[in-house]
Symmetry: C2
DNA sequence: TTGAAAGCGCTAACAA
DNA sequence: TTGTTAGCGCTTTCAA
């Protein structure tokens, strides 16, 4: 059996409560006893039982990440891995553990976080992405749980969330293409149930409108965060009588599919078509040609989300936690995929 | 305050232990009381306190994943994300929670898992990759903790581990190139401190030897699991007087760097150089040209590791847990990057 | 500055 | 089949 606080107390000739006080750096403890107790702890190889501590202190020092359910939804691996890295790094720094949960479907997801939260296993949750209608958000909000959203909620705009200003980012990307002289610009979106798809589409539209450019429904294609989406989209676009000369894409990975498709059709980037996408994954610098991409500071988003959640957890009771959206700044990185001016035929 | 077992007991007119028995599906409980108790639990919104349960049952129903420390070591995001997905899916299915831990350095890592394991926060650990000399493995082994390794340990060959037969896989990849007629084959390896680098290099060498082919030290380059490594390696290779006509690469991502480099130097794949790499990430199908790659079943590895660890945890005391390496089968997927026969000048 | 005692929410002998 | 009781390892009043 493991060494307990009692064992230490006995060997040190003090009471268990004294040992406990040493453990928590209680101010009113003599330096002498403290030293001695620590020595014994070391000698005996004592490790505090986290469960017991949490049980009595009614706090878990843990947060939970809800992982997207399926491989398909795990779109850009890079995106999630970076987010997780940011979250875990910051949480560990604050002495919090991170639990990872997932479910086969939305009901599963709700049950999972419910068990964890109500069962006092974790103090809060971070949702890695925002669906337009999310039962998990409903659940968390209704039950007054601590959580933060990567992205934003349409139903509850005041929810604690960390986001890119996707409307602006998409606006910037589109304006960049317009500044290059493009007048027919397409958009390859993500799944319509994700808020990010909606926001980026909006920014794209706004940029066209502000520049007095035409927008055609057939220049907008919905897809997944997968190469296949880009691949499919491109064969569609290039067969249009009045095809776009530039495209804004929801994710770098989609761009890779586009590059592949264009290569097979014998088109060149940026000569025949200019591309700008989002997320600026490391690979986008190494594709042929390198991709222009909006860097949204993914690691930073995770880091910030973690920080906010822990803050909210620790503030319980006191001044109501600051709610609302925290926007992480974005930055358009221009590379070869969008450096030429308007291609032929424009 | 949350609803406890006592509240349920009182309202149902039974004792707390009866409620506890209902909770754990104890066989000797009347259907009638069971039904009633469940009803009350539902009504009151009862959720068992996991901490309390774990404290008394002296088991945590949790495992921990140790995340590579830095972004650089997080080589192929895809690799880790798939592994994690496999681990979490299987663990959740068995009713286990997954904690994720990381550290700024090796000492941090040891302290982290030590705190979690000795503090009875988790029952076991999965290490996501194998370093040649790993203090974490030393620690876990010496303290008799339950853990499984993705990869293998050189020091402790009997450790529970899930691995690809990397020697064979690399042998297969190399033999494939040889069967295409190549006689000068290069190898771009990963960090020398990783066991996987060593094993794949060995398979490559063996294939050359078995085929009576020459191997030159300058045909072997060490690097990271990054595009840059491939990019750098290629400018080195292509300047060699007797340059390789084909290369085996430690990871698909490295291949992307190679493709980029070759493109800039105006070489073509597979006409000028054939490539085969490892991991078969989704993107490898969509590069230009699509990459031949060894699929090592990453999700499966994670899934299996999770299963083995939980098995080991649950078997404690009884028949000693089966140790040793579990090999996940691999499969070479041939695509355009290696379909041509020997390039010019060979 | 320290100790004694109660209790966090649950399980599991032992009785009944 | 159910209830009583004694903890799991820790923190935290209250008293000394």
């Amino acid at each position: 059996m493991a060494v307990t606080i009692k064992d230490v107390a006995k060997k040190a000739g003090v009471s268990p409560s004294t040992v406990s006080r040493v453990l928590s750096n209680h101010p009113r403890i003599s330096a002498e006893t403290s030293r001695k107790v620590r020595e014994i702890m070391e000698e005996l190889g004592y490790h505090p039982n986290i469960m017991a501590k949490n049980l009595v202190s009614r706090t878990t020092n843990s947060i939970c990440i809800l992982l997207p359910k399926s491989a398909e939804e795990l779109f850009s691996n890079f995106f999630f891995m970076e987010l997780i890295r940011g979250i875990v790094t910051q949480a560990n720094r604050q002495g919090f553990d991170v639990l990872i949960s997932s479910g086969a479907n939305e009901k599963d997801e709700v049950e999972g976080v419910s068990r964890l939260l109500n069962g006092h296993r974790v103090d809060g949750v971070i949702l890695l992405y925002s669906r337009i209608d999310d039962p998990v958000v409903d659940f968390l909000h209704k039950n007054n749980h601590k959580f933060v959203l990567i992205g934003r909620s349409e139903h509850y705009p005041d929810i604690l969330s960390v986001d890119t200003d996707n409307v602006q980012a998409s606006y910037d990307a589109t304006k960049h293409l317009i500044s290059l002289g493009h007048e027919r610009i397409g958009f390859v979106s993500g799944p319509p149930e994700l808020v990010v798809s909606k926001d980026r589409l909006k920014g794209y539209m706004q940029a066209l409108i502000d520049s007095g450019l035409e927008s055609k429904p057939e220049w907008i294609v919905e897809g997944e965060f997968l190469q296949e989406s880009g691949y499919r989209a491109i064969s569609f676009f290039m067969n249009l009588p009045d095809r776009p000369t530039a495209i804004v894409l929801i994710d770098d990975v989609v761009s890779f599919g586009v590059l592949r498709g264009l290569h097979e059709l014998n088109y060149k980037v940026p000569e025949d078509l200019c591309l700008v996408s989002f997320n600026n994954i490391p690979l986008s610098e190494m594709s042929t040609p390198p991709l222009s991409s909006v860097d949204i500071g993914i690691y930073n988003m995770g880091y910030t989300a973690s920080q906010l959640l822990i803050q909210a957890i620790q503030n319980t009771g006191e001044a109501k936690t600051e709610l609302g959206r925290f926007i992480i700044p974005h930055r358009l990185v221009v590379r070869e995929s969008s450096i030429f001016s308007v291609p032929k035929g424009s």
